[in-house]
């Protein structure tokens, strides 16, 4: 298989994983105006939960169901109990709070699981490589792709075709109006927050056997997630998809062609977008 | 002598929504000009465009025969043009005294002075006290602006514009939400402070409009239907049809 195709696939896989993480984050920001830094911690917690669940039961598949539920519940707690308290105080306290929660969760993870990287083995059927596009490609990465695409399709379907989806989109666009129309905005917020957190948890599960499971994984994905959100646009799921794929490919080919500058380029791009078009490619004007 | 304010064919749209569709307006020195019209007609947008909050989509604005089109708000405020807001826009965490003092400091171009203690600058203190007396808030000067009674907040709102010592003062619905008595006091205040200055006032209260203004412009869907004296406007057929149907 061509080296470029392989790099391209790697970029695609990481990009879709990034999308899985950022879709919830961007929805929450678009709707509630809150950039939930703790979201990256939910991702990390998802990976660690998967590690423990697999260690206990030897079954990776149930992680895909149970872990997102668990993380979703944590998300519910965070939103209901913690975030609501500071919502009225403004952007800075909210941002600081989500950051504080991120920090605490990272420390709790260290306390429970230690600071060394853990390895989570994928189920044997997903280990190894299979024939793909004229060559072979690691099966697990294709699995990541599969899961993310399934999630994307489900999300797209819900958002476009169901009443819940339309309500959510309306709330992202103008939550005061939705409130006036008699819809329980608080419930919608809570729901979106939970689903978003669950998605982050799912991404964590999926990432665990693929990337290193270690306490810094939250921060690692957080920075990339921020870049994606900024470029794709706050509140836009399609923007998140496009930007995530872009960053995935940028990192993949960046490492290939300009290893010295790949990192610099990413932040430069983030800065440029924020300066020229703060709402991102697809976001609503600030 | 050229008019103090000239608005020539000003258009303003927001992503396709046309709010101002060709405004032509002249305001003379010393004139008291009222702008009336139904909600959504574009009155506040017109103020925003004149004072630099929004850029025009087309057209020109001239003040004292100088082209000020698209000047940023702080620049416009420094050449003798001040405005008040329909929704009270004061400095809520600062005291009444500090609110007015903010304007005096700006007027005296001391905004970047890092060399003297503000509390010691006597002429700033004196002028602040003067303005407070003019708007009748000298006894409330230590009260936090956010805690003022509504009527006093509106007085402070006007005071912030007045303290600039502008030649042209724009008041956006200064009597909004006031009782009849508060309105009467407000009108007296407005007449007092605009003596010798030029005034443009947006108002819904027709009694205020007819008692204060020399000329009236009727704004309707982003266009000026008619401009004239109170009598002329009252007789104007189009105006009657569009706006003055209801009694006030």
């Amino acid at each position: 298989m061509d080296a470029y195709v392989i790099q391209g696939m790697h970029g695609l896989v990481y990009g879709m994983l990034l999308f899985l993480v950022t879709s919830g984050l961007t929805l929450v920001f678009g709707m509630m105006g809150v950039l939930n830094i703790a979201h990256a911690a939910f991702y990390m917690v998802g990976a660690y939960f998967a590690y423990t669940l697999v260690a206990w039961t030897g079954n990776f598949w149930i992680c895909l169901i149970l872990v997102p539920i668990g993380v979703g519940l944590i998300g519910a707690f965070v939103e209901r109990v913690l975030l609501r308290k500071v919502h009225a105080l403004g952007h800075a306290p909210e941002l600081m709070l989500t950051f504080g929660i991120f920090y605490i969760l990272a420390e709790v993870v260290k306390m429970i699981w230690g600071t060394y990287p853990l390895s989570v083995s994928p189920p044997s059927i997903l280990a190894g490589s299979i024939p793909f596009a004229g060559g072979i490609y690691p099966t697990y990465r294709l699995f990541i792709l599969l899961i993310s695409v399934i999630v994307l399709l489900i999300l797209a379907f819900i958002m476009q075709k169901t009443r819940i989806g339309i309500t959510v989109r309306a709330a992202v666009f103008d939550n005061e109006m939705v409130d006036i129309l008699g819809i329980n905005v608080q419930a919608v917020f809570l729901g979106v927050f939970c689903i978003g957190s669950a998605l982050a948890g799912l991404a964590g599960v999926v990432a665990a056997p693929f990337l290193t499971t270690y306490p810094g994984m939250g921060l690692e994905i957080l920075i990339d997630a921020f870049v994606v959100i900024v470029i794709g646009g706050f509140g836009s799921v399609w923007g998140a998809l496009l930007a995530a794929l872009m960053i995935g490919e940028l990192q993949s080919f960046g490492i290939m062609f300009i290893p010295q500058l790949a990192l610099v380029f990413q932040f430069l791009l983030m800065a440029i977008v924020l300066v020229l078009r703060p709402q991102g490619l697809f976001g609503e004007a600030a | 002598m050229t008019a103090l304010l000239q608005i020539n064919s000003v258009y303003k749209d927001f992503s396709g929504l046309k709010v101002l569709v060709g405004i032509d307006l002249t305001v003379e020195h010393g004139e008291r000009h009222a702008i009336i019209g139904p909600n959504g007609a574009g009155k506040s947008t017109l103020f925003n465009v004149i004072t630099g909050k929004y850029r025009v989509s087309n057209g020109q604005i001239r003040f004292k025969d100088q082209d000020i089109t698209n000047w940023p708000a702080h620049k416009v405020s420094r050449i003798g043009l001040a405005r008040s807001f329909q929704v009270t826009n004061i400095f809520p965490s600062m005291t009444v005294y500090e609110n007015i003092r903010n304007v005096i400091v700006s007027k005296k171009r001391m905004r970047f002075n890092m060399f003297t203690r503000l509390g010691n600058i006597e002429n700033v203190n004196a002028e602040t006290r003067e303005v407070l007396e003019t708007i009748g808030l000298e006894t409330s000067s230590d009260i936090s602006a956010g805690e003022l009674a509504y009527g006093h907040q509106r007085a402070l709102e006007i005071g912030l514009a007045l303290a600039m010592e502008p030649e042209l003062i724009l008041l956006d619905e200064p009597t909004a939400g006031m009782t009849t008595e508060e309105t009467r006091d407000a009108v007296k205040l407005i007449e007092r402070i605009t003596a010798g200055k030029t005034l443009i006032i947006i108002e819904h209260d027709m009694d205020v409009v007819f008692s204060i203004s020399d000329r009236i412009s009727v704004l309707h869907y982003g266009k000026i239907l008619a401009t004239g004296t109170a009598e002329e406007i009252k007789e104007n057929q189009e105006v009657k049809k569009a706006y003055l149907g209801s009694k006030k």
Binding site: Y103, L274 | K53
Partner: protein, 328 residues
């Protein structure tokens, strides 16, 4: 003079005398902590210019601290016979220049966008510093060969004795704090408060909000740079840690925990933070968890920081937010 002022002045003098004799009553370890609290305190006060006074949450303030540290090292390295205090000033100027460049882009934005852009710039500066090994030593960092100070009557003061480093740090920090305290009482200090309270109206009464905020951002960068210089004099070494995200978040913790609503609150925060890192870490290896917990609890229940929990009498000394304008 009122009795309150006399009382404050006497109290201030007592504190000053205490500060001067500190090297004689503290152990070496404790004195080192005191030095750290001093320059981190200045760093935190500079950060509070943005957070507390300006209402601007920045996630990238370490960029100016680190730049200050590096510039001080470069100054002494590339110019023979560079006086130490001049090197410190150069550190401050380095921080200021970096801040004016970054601020030019950031200050137009507000809220979350501002925070993210400061983060992006911090990461950008970090990654450039990382790659530019020839200048910054990259991962490895560079050592600082600190020059001695030559004073007319006293002679040579070498900077390897802890009390000497302490006094240099103390003098620079006290002067910087005094300058800042005064700035905040001037009309410019009022400009900042005015803009923070209602930026929109401020524009309409003639304030150029962009220029005012940029000036504030630059000032904060300058004093962060000074703090960075003092840091490298103390640590004798500078690495990417001084310019990275961890440092930026630590300064946020320090400043907020101490209290953003008062001038010296952040210094208290620096003290608490250093205490945590030195002593709580002896009790439990999970001191960072407790730090984070403290931070979150304060956000929820006492968002003016620990200093707001100190009884009113003591508060008078710490001066709640330099009363802008003073007496009338």
């Amino acid at each position: 003079m009122t009795t309150i002022r006399i009382r404050n002045i006497i109290f201030g003098l007592i504190v000053l005398i205490l500060l001067i004799i500190l090297p004689f009553i503290l152990s070496e370890v404790q004195l080192n902590m005191a030095i750290e609290i001093a320059f981190f305190g200045l760093f935190a006060v500079s950060y509070n210019l943005l957070l507390g006074y300006g209402g601007l949450l920045s996630f990238g303030h370490a960029a100016y601290f680190g730049t200050g540290a590096y510039f001080t090292v470069f100054a002494c390295k590339f110019v023979a016979g560079m006086p130490l205090f001049l090197a410190v000033l150069i550190g401050g100027l380095g921080g200021a220049v970096m801040a004016v460049i970054v601020g030019f882009f950031c200050v137009r934005l507000s809220g979350t966008y501002f925070a993210l852009l400061t983060l992006a710039f911090n990461q950008l500066i970090y990654s450039i510093a990382l790659k530019w090994r020839t200048l910054t030593g990259g991962d490895d960092g560079i050592g600082f060969d600190k020059p001695a100070i030559h004073l007319p009557l006293i002679g040579k003061l070498d900077m390897f004795s802890t009390p000497n480093v302490y006094y240099v740090t103390l003098i620079v920090v006290l002067i910087s704090l005094a300058l800042l305290w005064f700035f905040l009482k001037t009309p410019y200090g009022n400009t900042i408060t005015c803009i923070k309270d209602n930026e929109d109206r401020a524009e309409f009464i003639g304030y150029n909000v962009f220029r005012s905020k940029l000036t504030l951002f630059t000032m904060a960068g300058f004093f962060a740079g000074i703090a960075g210089s003092l840091f490298v004099i103390f640590a004798e070494f500078v690495s990417l840690d001084a310019i990275g995200l961890t440092m930026s978040t630590e300064i946020l913790f320090m400043t907020f925990i101490g209290g953003t609503g008062s001038f010296l609150g952040p210094v208290l925060g620096a003290g608490v933070f250093i205490y945590f890192t030195e002593w709580v870490s002896d009790i439990t290896e999970h001191w960072e968890f407790f730090l984070g917990l403290l931070f979150v609890i304060l956000i929820l229940y006492a968002n003016k920081g620990l200093i707001s929990l100190i009884p009113a009498k003591l508060k008078e000394f710490f001066g709640k937010k330099a009363p802008v304008g003073g007496e009338r």
